[in-house]
Symmetry: C2
Subunit: 470 residues, 2 copies
């Protein structure tokens, strides 16, 4: 039994120890620590039907993205409406969070993290304890105190602000956001990550000095949302929406048009009017603005913005000191993005029936290299794929961690290419017949535009130098 | 009312729109988007005692790290044992997670994310539903199905593996880990983030072909843990530990020695023996290995490793196919790091009574620049601090997002320096009297080693070029 007490004087030793350990690892586990080998990735594609009790059976599959994500080993069912996110999904989600962080912080958002447990008394103050009914997961602690598992944090963040002793008008607009797991006891969880009971959401709460300032903030955040969907290459429709149980004075949804979408949207073909039917006062067939004909389509809600006014800040006493040092109730906004829902919705709208397509920025790995099959003529050039891999990482450092080597060389190139197409790596580099040429030529499938190009190693490097990594 | 439908052909427009928006922002909000201004950061230092109902009153403060984190606006109480993590804490935590990710992935760890809700039936299978008693938060869904809020995921991950139809010995060792929020209904939540009811934990679960292979994996993960604490400059003691409610055959804890620690450790002054008293069979005063005298000290548990054997894999049927294609039950290990606890424990052991000190890698911001007071002689050189800021970011790109400008220039340098010392930025750069010299000279306080140096702008750049950023 060993004991290691690291005193300050032993920190140098300790660092040396870590360095030696890292050297040791890269010597003995070269492939594992340096090259990412597909055969080592946990991506289960073959679940035991006899073990999937009540969840995840083929009969439970309700849409394309759910089916593709299950088949490709991206998610695995846990309980009704709850999924394990497997490694590819976690990578894609972390990339999406980086995109969101960048945009939220560029407009002045500051990241916080609020507890999931919120006390019943706080939700009773806003009267949402009763309003949300069965959608709220409720529980008691060992002292019989009641809590909910927060689906959203208007009350919590408003109380956080109300507790400040000296919030000055100079500190506003204040824009706090978090990316955390949320809970909702859905009556019918379905569509995989599109409508689950546990999901990740980015929620931002803003505090302003006046209605005018709050509207400016509202527009700023809305523009940032447009930028996020734009960067992801996702077509969206921004529609007038109902404020629902959140409340407030005004609300818009960001919708991705899709047949399986659960929201019904009405869009005017003549002017810019668009709305969720829930936001329409009665069933209108003509545009309320230009009286043009309204067309209906379906959409998946991926973002929602609310101008709340003083609904929460008034009840909970969240105020700031104005220029005359008088307390004034703040004007609030709240802004949600469904993080895990965006992932699934993107797969839903971009994929074919058999092949996943990702927003390029979010692909779990950007490049998959397929070396020749064992025993083939081209096998002699096996080293070429490994050299390409190592050279690529050296020459294009941002691709570190983004390149896979499909080392399942007992399989044909065709079989592995099929898997790669199904997974949707943006670039698949194949060491096919033409690697025997001098200089060797690789086949590169650019899956997001469907093009195939034949390039030397230098050409591959030039092409991939331009890949944008988040 | 506007509607924006982005078709593929409009993606170019959309990107242009985002670029213009970013330009617009950096033009109008120069300070906000380019320089990080201290006055804009949400870091509440003055809570209303009348509003802190039942939590967070000064009488609830039970240790130094909790007091310092509350006073400096790093955390704010929400419910008993639940805290809002404010922006500085979120930044430090994200850095810690990056350190952990790097080490876990360098030994082959793959990141997953499992639901918080775990079904009662699964926990009943392992008999931990009853064993954990009141520590487990329990709830029912709308269909009266019972769940717990997982404090740990042995059952869930073992079921995940048991569901695989074709796990081969070639895929082992398999090392899955996650960094997620965990729940425990502590009888006495206290010490701020050290013993809360909601907390972040990194938990890794490993699957091996044999006891021997599992021991190799156990040592590999233990070494990675030593590396993590080494990088953070934290002295630790690794002790034999009780396996508690997790169970298994062997267990070690990583402890940070501290007076407020809740664990009692026995260490031999003659040999390498060290153990948690809970792991000792009876109250021994002499070392069971060399009969040397045992010394007692207290520690904060920040990591825990378990060799589980087949405790969970046998019950839940998690097996792999061996070389003869026969199913064999996997040997498991599990490995925990208290993410939020490490943050608080580091502050507990590194800080003075009044000033926070961070592990250098985890400091929320690395550099704080303090320009002259408004109205002072040195005010003429105000531009020098801003030039230093901009030049620094240009010359040392990894410092992007790591440098603060303390623009509260109505305060004296002394007052702002006091705040900076309290917050513990590793480097505080002061535009004091000597900025009037030619060339101007800045005072640099290196807070982690207590040294003060006087440097020209070029000298400051050279010093800060070496700052390690994670």
């Amino acid at each position: 039994m060993e004991v290691a007490i690291y005193s300050n004087s032993r920190q140098l030793f300790n660092r040396l120890f870590c360095n030696i350990l890292h050297l040791h690892r890269s010597y003995y586990h070269h492939g594992r620590s340096k090259r990412i080998l597909l055969s080592r990735l946990f991506q289960p594609m073959n679940l035991r039907e006899d073990r999937t009790i009540g969840v995840g059976r083929s009969s439970d599959i309700t849409c394309k993205s759910q089916r593709l994500m299950l088949q490709a080993g991206l998610i695995q069912p846990a309980n009704t409406g709850c999924f394990h996110y497997l490694p590819y999904t976690v990578r894609a989600m972390e990339k999406l969070v980086r995109v969101i962080d960048k945009e939220m912080q560029s407009i002045g958002g500051q990241k916080v993290n609020m507890p999931s447990l919120t006390s019943a008394s706080l939700w009773k103050t806003s009267e949402r304890w009763d309003l949300l009914g069965k959608e709220l997961f409720r529980l008691k602690d060992r002292h019989d105190m009641e809590y909910c598992l927060s689906p959203t944090h208007e009350e919590a963040v408003t109380e956080l602000i109300a507790m400040q002793g000296n919030l000055s008008y100079r500190q506003l607009p204040l824009m706090l956001y978090q990316v955390t797991r949320k809970f909702r006891d859905e009556p019918k969880p379905r569509f995989g990550l599109l409508r689950g009971r546990e999901f990740y959401m980015k929620d931002m709460y803003t505090f302003d000095v006046s209605e005018g300032a709050a509207m400016e903030t509202y527009n700023l955040v809305s523009q940032a949302y447009s930028c996020i969907f734009g960067q992801l290459g996702l077509q969206f429709v921004k529609v007038q929406a109902d404020t629902g149980s959140i409340g407030g004075k005004m609300s818009h949804e960001f919708q991705l048009p899709a047949d399986i979408g659960e929201d019904r949207l009405l869009m005017c073909s003549d002017c810019h009017f668009a709305a969720n039917v829930e936001a329409m006062t009665d069933t209108e067939t003509n545009c309320p603005q230009c009286h043009g004909k309204l067309k209906e389509s379906k959409g998946i809600e991926v973002g929602h913005t609310f101008y709340l006014g003083t609904k929460y800040s008034y009840i909970l006493g969240a105020s700031y000191s104005n220029t005359e040092n008088k307390p004034v109730v703040t004007e609030m906004g709240c802004f949600g993005l469904g993080v895990t829902r965006i992932l699934a919705a993107a797969i839903e709208v971009l994929s074919t029936e058999d092949e996943i397509r990702w927003p390029s920025l979010l692909a779990p790995y950007q490049v998959c290299i397929i070396p020749p099959k064992k025993g083939s003529k081209e096998e002699l050039s096996l080293g070429l794929s490994e050299t390409l891999y190592d050279t690529l990482i050296d020459a294009v450092p941002q691709l570190h961690g983004e390149v896979l080597l499909d080392d399942r060389s007992h399989l044909t190139i065709g079989k592995r290419l099929k898997d790669a197409s199904r997974l949707g790596y943006p670039y698949v580099v194949i060491a096919g017949k033409r690697v025997l040429e001098n200089p060797p030529v690789f086949e590169v499938r650019c899956q997001n535009n469907g093009k195939t190009v034949f390039l030397t190693q230098e050409g591959v490097l030039d092409l991939l130098r331009n890949v944008k990594i988040v």
